[in-house]
């Protein structure tokens, strides 16, 4: 590269992006390097007796949740896109709503509903003559966790597949019909294969969420990689083993992601014409239309209606006990931290995104991949990477802290909110980045180039032209990240400063202390915030489309 080309690429955007990328990579590299530090005395025991169990449980949950979310997501998306049946319009957005209920809240709600003293078994005993002393439903096992993950995570498959199916041209289906194929044959021979990319992509998101989870498996007492990392770190105080488990989980995730790439296949489906005639929904007749409504109603009820009604009932019973000044302050600080971190994520995404789009180099392509790795790495692993890195930095800065009159103690970064927010940015940057990237993609580079040629430098162009033009992408990015942050659990549990609670940790702590009813208020606030955020985004998209 000659000097001029180097000068053109090394600018403020490059320097800021390089700094950001280094901060994202460091905690993960830290885990990789420290794997070679040597094992603790517990490691041999973990490896021999516990590790096979962690791997097996994690694999079973991942496999079955993936399979069931695929089935439910695909069938429901196909029903609302291809057919007309009673309440279809309601279900086409209603079936998204279970995404607003974090899986760990769903886990203890279902346990509360179906346990021995819960409303279901009490009803059976009191009204249907079921015997006492027998527990008819047990959710606290692998099957229960698979049910909970499936029913609260299938919307990922539903949303992505539905938006893909909407773009399928009517002529594809009509060609199938003219060639003598039945609806079922068209579904299996045409729709299913062309939806493969959307299905594999969305199921991968579900799987990443499952691997990231700590709340459900901890509450149900299932040993997985996530719970094992927590246990070795907090229970045994064994940093070396926690790091080794984290590294193994990273390997597991990367194997899954390579599998995903292979499953997506080489086939790409696109249309040569930009004018696509969307498929016309077919009216279901007779029994079929009622079956479609019943199926959608069951999914909607299990994923949203039943748990929310149960939480509302518990909230009614306990609100006067739970809501006090401390609870209100906790809610405000929880929301404030989420808002602050969401804005920070989007600012970071804007900087890297702007560098990537303006500099079409190999480095910029690598950067665009690195910013999205955080979402693939489970929260517990990021937490271990960040905490060990910041403790190391704190130790290096000990002399400075001791000489400073403003800082008391030897640890500053690793005991403050800084650590949690830093980890939030690493984990959720991918979500913010995707939103910003699609915004930049939509406007292209021509407006920026026009502005540069009219005398503005790249920074003032960024503020005067780029930012106003990608406002919708910025807004949806902030909202999407915010929803995830409000319900985030594993990172927050490990990295929060002493005595700091969020709505998610408070709700989880109540549930873990066998105070399920008290957990409902925080849970309902999380669900309401997510619901409002989704509704406002929906309005924004409709406005944009208009």
């Amino acid at each position: 590269m000659n000097l001029n080309r180097l000068k053109a690429h090394v600018n403020g955007w490059f320097i800021a992006s390089t700094l950001i990328i280094s901060l994202i990579v460091l905690p993960n590299l830290n885990i990789i390097f420290r794997v070679f530090d040597g094992a603790s005395e517990n490691w041999a025991h973990i490896q021999k007796y516990l590790l096979p169990g962690y791997a097996l449980n994690t694999s079973i949950i991942v496999l079955f949740t993936g399979l069931f979310t695929l089935l439910i997501g695909l069938v429901s998306a196909w029903l609302v896109t291809a057919y007309e049946f009673p309440f279809r319009k309601f279900f086409s957005w209603g079936l998204i709503l279970p995404i607003t209920v974090p899986a760990y809240i769903g886990a203890y709600t279902y346990q509360g509903l179906f346990n021995y003293t819960g409303v279901v078994q009490s009803f059976f005993r009191n009204n249907l003559g079921f015997g006492t002393g027998v527990n008819y439903f047990d959710f606290m096992n692998l099957k229960g966790s698979i049910f909970v993950f499936t029913i609260f995570l299938y919307p990922y498959v539903f949303i992505i597949t539905k938006s893909f199916l909407k773009k399928i041209s009517a002529s594809i289906i009509e060609s199938g019909k003219l060639l003598g194929k039945s609806n079922l044959e068209i579904f299996f021979q045409i729709i299913l294969p062309i939806s493969r990319t959307a299905l594999v992509g969305s199921v991968s998101l579900v799987i990443l969420e499952v691997i990231n989870d700590y709340g459900v498996v901890k509450y149900y007492g299932i040993s997985t990689f996530s719970t094992a990392i927590f246990k070795t770190w907090f229970g045994m105080g064994d940093t070396a083993s926690a790091i080794r488990l984290s590294a193994l989980l990273m390997v597991f995730v990367f194997l899954l992601l390579s599998m995903e790439k292979a499953l997506r296949g080489r086939k790409k489906y696109s249309y040569s014409s930009t004018k696509i005639r969307p498929m016309k929904r077919q009216q279901l007749e007779g029994m079929k239309k009622y079956l479609a409504t019943i199926f959608s109603s069951i999914i909607f009820s299990l994923g949203f209606l039943i748990p929310v009604i149960q939480l509302l009932h518990w909230g009614y019973l306990t609100y006067s006990k739970v809501i006090d000044i401390d609870f209100i302050l906790m809610t405000v600080s929880s929301i404030s931290v989420s808002v602050f971190a969401s804005i920070l994520v989007i600012v970071t995404a804007l900087i890297v995104g702007n560098y990537v789009r303006l500099s079409n180099t190999k480095i910029s392509k690598v950067y665009s991949k690195v910013v999205t790795i955080g979402y693939s790495i489970p929260g517990a692993v990021i937490a271990i990477g960040v905490i060990t890195l910041l403790i190391f930095v704190d130790r290096q800065l000990r002399g400075f802290y001791n000489n400073s009159s403003f800082i008391s103690g030897n640890l500053l970064l690793s005991t403050s909110l800084f650590m949690l927010i830093f980890a939030y940015v690493i984990r959720f940057l991918a979500i913010g980045y995707q939103s910003i990237d699609s915004g930049y993609d939509r406007i292209g580079n021509k407006f920026t180039e026009a502005s540069r040629l009219l005398g503005e430098n790249s920074l003032s162009t960024f503020f005067k032209i780029d930012l106003p033009m990608i406002k919708p992408a910025i807004y949806s990015g902030v909202v999407l990240v915010f929803i995830d942050l409000v319900k985030e659990l594993p990172l927050t549990l490990i990295l929060r400063p002493f005595n700091f609670n969020t709505l998610a940790t408070k709700s989880f702590e109540y549930a873990n202390d066998e105070m399920i009813h008290e957990a409902s208020i925080a849970a309902l606030i999380i669900i309401t915030i997510s619901l409002l955020a989704i509704l406002s985004m929906n309005r924004l998209f409709k406005k944009e489309a208009a």
Partner: protein
């Protein structure tokens, strides 16, 4: 000579073929130069290199005896004093016509006066408060031209300025365009794949093939 380009070479990253290959040329002040060529001949890339939107591998360019780039230095697009009309005009959709035109004018004192001047030049005085989406294709093109001319650039570049217009409008607009540019007295370079458009508007034509000059001629104009 007003614009001098020497030994210009360029290829896109990851591509082994030179898009611009040892290009040498000089343009006279006040001329309209049409660059003709098929898709992939390098004509738009040449324009982007002149504008500073791409960085050349080697070569030198001078505008009115000022260096725009050579082996040691490269002037950023915002400091070149070059105006450009983009293929799809790139009018800022969140700004009105007058805001779009005023965007590149640095002098606050004369801003409104200059906006009125160029709006008059393109005969669009009544459209100052409109947004780009409220204009027809031909009107958008005239506003894009007005915006590029407003900061009084030394050189005007136009990338396929007629491609978004239908045939009848192309004939009407290209005559207007020549008259406006000549009135403004500005040296202009435009690229097109349409020989008819090129011949009707330019004083001089260069035909490019694989980044090299296939031929050039000085057209006799009135």
């Amino acid at each position: 000579m007003f614009v001098t380009i020497k030994n210009l070479n360029f290829k896109y990253p990851g591509n082994d073929d030179w898009v611009i290959n040892d290009f040498d040329y000089t343009f006279k002040k006040g001329d309209i130069i049409g660059i003709l060529g098929a898709s992939g001949s390098g004509k738009s890339t040449l324009l982007r290199l002149m504008a500073g939107l791409e960085v050349p591998h080697t070569g030198e360019m001078l505008l009115n005896e000022h260096i725009l780039f050579n082996s040691r230095e490269i002037i950023q697009p915002e400091n070149r004093n070059i105006g450009m009309v983009f293929q799809d005009y790139a009018l800022f959709p969140h700004m009105t016509v007058e805001k779009n035109i005023g965007y590149g004018i640095t002098s606050r004192k004369n801003k409104n006066k200059r906006i009125k001047e160029v709006l008059k030049l393109v005969e669009m005085e009544d459209f100052a408060k409109r947004y780009p989406h409220e204009l027809s294709g031909g009107q958008q093109q005239r506003i894009a031209l007005a915006r590029a001319l407003a900061p009084k650039p030394s050189l005007l570049l136009m990338d396929e300025p007629f491609s978004s217009l239908d045939h009848d409008l192309q004939i009407k607009i290209r005559e207007e365009l020549r008259s406006i540019i000549k009135k403004a007295g500005i040296t202009s370079v435009f690229v097109t794949h349409n020989r008819e458009n090129c011949e009707s508007i330019s004083d001089e034509i260069i035909e490019l093939e694989k980044g090299k000059i296939k031929y050039n001629n000085h057209k006799i104009t009135s």
